[in-house]
Amino acid sequence: MVTLLDTVLFSTYFILLFLSIFWLLVLFAPQEEKKKKAHQEPFFSTIVPAYNEEKSIRGTLQSLVNLEYPPEKMEIIVVNDGSTDQTKEIVERFIQQHPQRKIILLNQRNKGKASAMNNGLSIVKGKFFACLDADSFVSSNALQVMLPLFEDDENVAAVCPMIKVKKPQSVLEKVQWYEYIINMFHRFLNAKLNCLHVTPGPFSVYRADVIRKIGGFDEETITEDLEIAIRLQKNHYKIMHTFEAIVETFAPVTWKALFRQRVRWYKGATDNTFRYKDLVFNKKYGDFGMIRMPTIVLSGIIAIVLGATLLHSLGKTIVGKLIYYQSINFDFLTLIMNYRPDINLLTLPFAKLFIAATLMAISFFIMIYSHKVIKEKITNYGRTFLSLFTYLLIYGFFLTAVWVYIGFMVVSGKKNFWR
C-alpha cells in the first residue's frame, strides 16, 4: 500500500534525482575555451551603500583602495543611507586620509539599499560599476579578472565574484562557509547555462548603461540584487561568474539573525518569481525560463511539503508511543526485561533507505567536488566534524523552517518587516 508519505518521498526523490543528473550533465559537458582579449582599463565606479556600518566601513573602503587598478581610473561613491551611528564621520575621515583618491560621500535619509544604489548610479562616471556592501571585502585582483569578461561579449551585463564567509569562528559561521562554497559551485553550473538569477550585493560588477536602460534598481523589492538579475535575464542579457575574484563577507553569527536574513532572501525570491511568472516554463527564455525560474520556488515547496509530511509522520509516531507508554503506566522495566531482538532484514524499509543513501551520496559528492573546484579544504577553519554534521543533517530542517515561515507569510499576506 502506497501511503501519502511514500508518494511525497518518491515524487521529491524523482525531482531531486532529475535535477542532480541534469546538473551533473552540465558539469561534465565540454565547454569552449574563451579567448581573453587584451585588457583595457576603463573608468570604473564602485557604489558602497551604507547603513550603520561603523564597524566595517573602513575595512571595506580600504579593500577598494587596495584594488590593483589605476587610481585615476576609479571612483568610490559611498551612499550613507541615513546612518544613525558613526558611519558618516568615519567615511569623511577616510576621505581626508586619502586625498589622492576620488571618493564621494552622498548622504540621504534612510530609504533602503536600492534607493542608495540608484542615488549612487545617478553620478556614476564609469562604463562599469560595482556595488559593494559595507560589510564585505574585495580581493585586490578582482577588477583585473572581472572586467575582461565584459570585453568578450557586449551582451554581458553583469559579472559576479566568488563570495566566501570571512574567517568563520563559530560552528554556525562554518556551516555558512560550507553553504556559500556549495552555492558558489551551483552558481558556477548556472553560469554555464546563463541561468544566474542573483547578482549578489558583494561586488557584482554591472555595465552602467544597461542598468540605466532597464530602469535602475527596483526600490520596492526587498532583494534588489535578485530582482535586477531577473530583469536582466528578462531582457536577454548575460550574467557571468568568476571564481578568480574573491569577496569575503561577514555571515550572521546567531541563528535568529540568520533566520531573518534567509526569510528576507527567500521571500524576495518568492515575490519576484510571482512578479516575473511569465518567465516560468517559458521557452523564449531558454534554460533560465525552463529550469532556473521554476526551481527558485520549487526548492521551497519541496522543503515545505517534505518537512510537513515528515513532521506529520514523526509526530504521529511520537504521539502514538506516548499514548501507549501512558496506557502501560510507563512500565519500561517490563518492556526492557522482556525485550527479545527479532531481526528480519526483509522488514527493513529498503526504498526509503535507498533514497536516503543516494541523496546523502549526492550531498557528499557536491560537498567534495565543490571544494575541489573552489580549491578550498573541507577542514579549513577547524570544527569540521560538528560543522559537517550540522550542515548535512540539521541545516536542512532550519531552512525548512524558514520556508514554512515564508509559506505562512504568503498565505496570511504578511508584509516584510525589514527596512
Binding site: 500500500m1 550533465l25 547555462l193 496506557s327 502501560i328
Partner: protein, 234 residues
C-alpha cells in the same frame, strides 16, 4: 541585446531518461524484494500449518497416554507465541506491498485461518487437559489507530506463555470465518477482546484487561501468576 536563448533540450531528455532508468532499477529491486517477502510469508504459513498438523496428531494420542498434557500445553503455548510474532511480520509485508497486494492478502487469509484452527484446537485440548493458560481473541480494526494491540503485547510480556493471544483483523473481507466469530460473539464495536468467552467491546485499559485476565486465572484456581496475586492484594 540578443533574443536567442539556448535551451539544453538534449540534456533535459537525457537527464529524464537516466532518472527513469534509476527509478526502473529501483522498481526491479522492489519487485525482487517483494518476491522475497512473499516467499518468506509462504514459508511462515507453511511452518505454522505443519506445527498445527503435528499438534492435532499429538492431541489424538492423549487418551492413549503416548503424549502427556504438560508436553502438549508447552507445544501449544510455544506455537501460539510464534503465531503472534509472525502475523505481525506478514502484516508488515502486506503494508509494504505495492505489486503483489493480492498475494499477500491471500497469505494473510491463510494465516488467519491457521490461527483460528489453533484457537479451536486449544479449546479441544482444554477439554482433555487441565487449563494452564488464558486465551484471548483480539479483533482489531486496521483503519483505526488504537493502542489495544500494544497493551495486549505488553500484557503478553508480563504473563509470558500463560497468555495466548489470537489477533484477527475484523475488517478482513475475504475470510467469512472471521465474520462468523463476530456474529457469534455479537461484536459490533472495535477493538474487541474475548477473554475465555467473555466479550469486551471498545478500548480496554491496561488495568481493566489485567483484572479481566486475573479473574480467569483465579477461576482456574491454581498457579495464579504473581502479578494477579499482587493486584488482588491491592
Amino acid at each position: 541585446m540578443s533574443s536567442e536563448r539556448k535551451l539544453s533540450l538534449k540534456k533535459y531528455l537525457l537527464a529524464f531518461f537516466l532518472t527513469l532508468l534509476v527509478f526502473s532499477g529501483g522498481i526491479v529491486v522492489g519487485i525482487t524484494l517483494e518476491n522475497a517477502r512473499l516467499s518468506s510469508a509462504e514459508q511462515i504459513t507453511l511452518q505454522e500449518k505443519v506445527s498445527l498438523r503435528s499438534l492435532q496428531l499429538q492431541h489424538n494420542y492423549i487418551d492413549s497416554g503416548i503424549t502427556d498434557c504438560k508436553t502438549l500445553n508447552t507445544i501449544l503455548e510455544n506455537n501460539i507465541n510464534e503465531l503472534g510474532k509472525k502475523v505481525s511480520i506478514i502484516i508488515d509485508y502486506e503494508k509494504k506491498a505495492i505489486f503483489s497486494e493480492e498475494e499477500f492478502n491471500l497469505q494473510l487469509q491463510d494465516y488467519f485461518l491457521t490461527e483460528i484452527q489453533f484457537y479451536l484446537l486449544a479449546q479441544e485440548i482444554e477439554q482433555k487437559c487441565p487449563q494452564n493458560s488464558v486465551k484471548i481473541l483480539y479483533f482489531y480494526d486496521e483503519n483505526r489507530d488504537d493502542t489495544q494491540g500494544d497493551i495486549l503485547a505488553y500484557l503478553k510480556k508480563r504473563f509470558g506463555n500463560r497468555l495466548l493471544i489470537f489477533s484477527l483483523n475484523s475488517q478482513f473481507p475475504q475470510e467469512p470465518m472471521i465474520n462468523i466469530f463476530l456474529t457469534y460473539y455479537k461484536i459490533t464495536q472495535y477493538p474487541a477482546v474475548v477473554i475465555e468467552e467473555e466479550v469486551y467491546q471498545g478500548h480496554r485499559t491496561t488495568e481493566q484487561l489485567m483484572d479481566d485476565i486475573c479473574k480467569e486465572f483465579i477461576k482456574m484456581g491454581k498457579n495464579i501468576p504473581t502479578d494477579c496475586v499482587s493486584s488482588q492484594k491491592n
